[in-house]
């Protein structure tokens, strides 16, 4: 399940909804990761652009990988502005046993950071500044360059 929201995520509601949706699915482990905007470098918050067609196909491929391990993956992300101490990202894995979920959430979030077509901007002094230094070129980038 991939859910996109305008602005900050309502973390307690999303975690509760996911918990309740799988409460009787016989999973022994539910491992969520919540990403929250921290105060650093004088920012007022973060802002996000998302390219949904490729995000959806990327997420579908991870759903397939989860299924092969008997697990389920869920993800929520914000579009637009998210202010300090609000949350922009939740990923969670449900699996029969904890080890699969712990390993899977780590692999998933790492690939999310490197591959998911989402662009981050710092909100600072009324400006929206692309966070190039913290961004990662997608594998295979640069083929159009000389």
């Amino acid at each position: 399940m991939l859910s996109l929201y305008d602005g900050a995520l309502d973390v307690p509601v999303i975690l509760k909804d996911w918990y309740e949706a799988e409460a009787r699915s016989n999973y022994g482990a539910y491992i969520p990761f919540v990403g929250t905007v921290r105060s650093e470098d004088g920012i007022d918050g973060l802002s996000f652009d998302i390219y949904e067609p490729i995000l959806e196909s990327w997420f579908t491929s991870w759903q397939e990988k989860a299924k092969q391990k008997g697990a389920v993956i869920k993800m929520a992300h914000s579009r637009g502005d998210v202010l300090l101490h609000e949350s922009s990202y939740i990923a969670a894995v449900f699996s029969p046993k904890r080890r699969v979920a712990l390993e899977f959430i780590d692999e998933f979030v790492e690939d999310f950071k490197a591959s998911a077509p989402i662009w981050k901007y710092d909100l600072k002094d009324g400006k929206r500044i692309y966070a190039l230094e913290r961004s990662t070129a997608i594998k295979g980038s640069g083929i159009l360059a000389k």
Partner: protein, 73 residues
């Protein structure tokens, strides 16, 4: 005609071009100085599938997307 879209922070309007492969696109975009850095660090998708080389033909109605470095979360 194919449509070329520049995603995320690349501040450039979409282009409609009469080209038949990605090598022609590379030549056209390399002539635009404002794109030089973006060409070195952007990935390319054809019809929303990432590609790893300039090979393969483009056909009328194809959509090409340039995806600069990402940072979700």
């Amino acid at each position: 005609m194919v449509r070329v879209e520049f995603l995320g922070p690349i501040q450039k309007d979409a282009l409609e071009l009469n080209i038949t492969n990605l090598s022609e696109l590379a030549e056209i975009l390399q002539a635009d100085e404002t794109l030089h850095e973006w060409l070195t660090n952007s990935a390319v998708a054809v019809n929303d599938t990432l590609v790893s080389s300039l090979e393969g033909a483009l056909k009328d109605g194809d959509k090409i997307s340039l995806l600069p470095p990402v940072c979700g979360g």
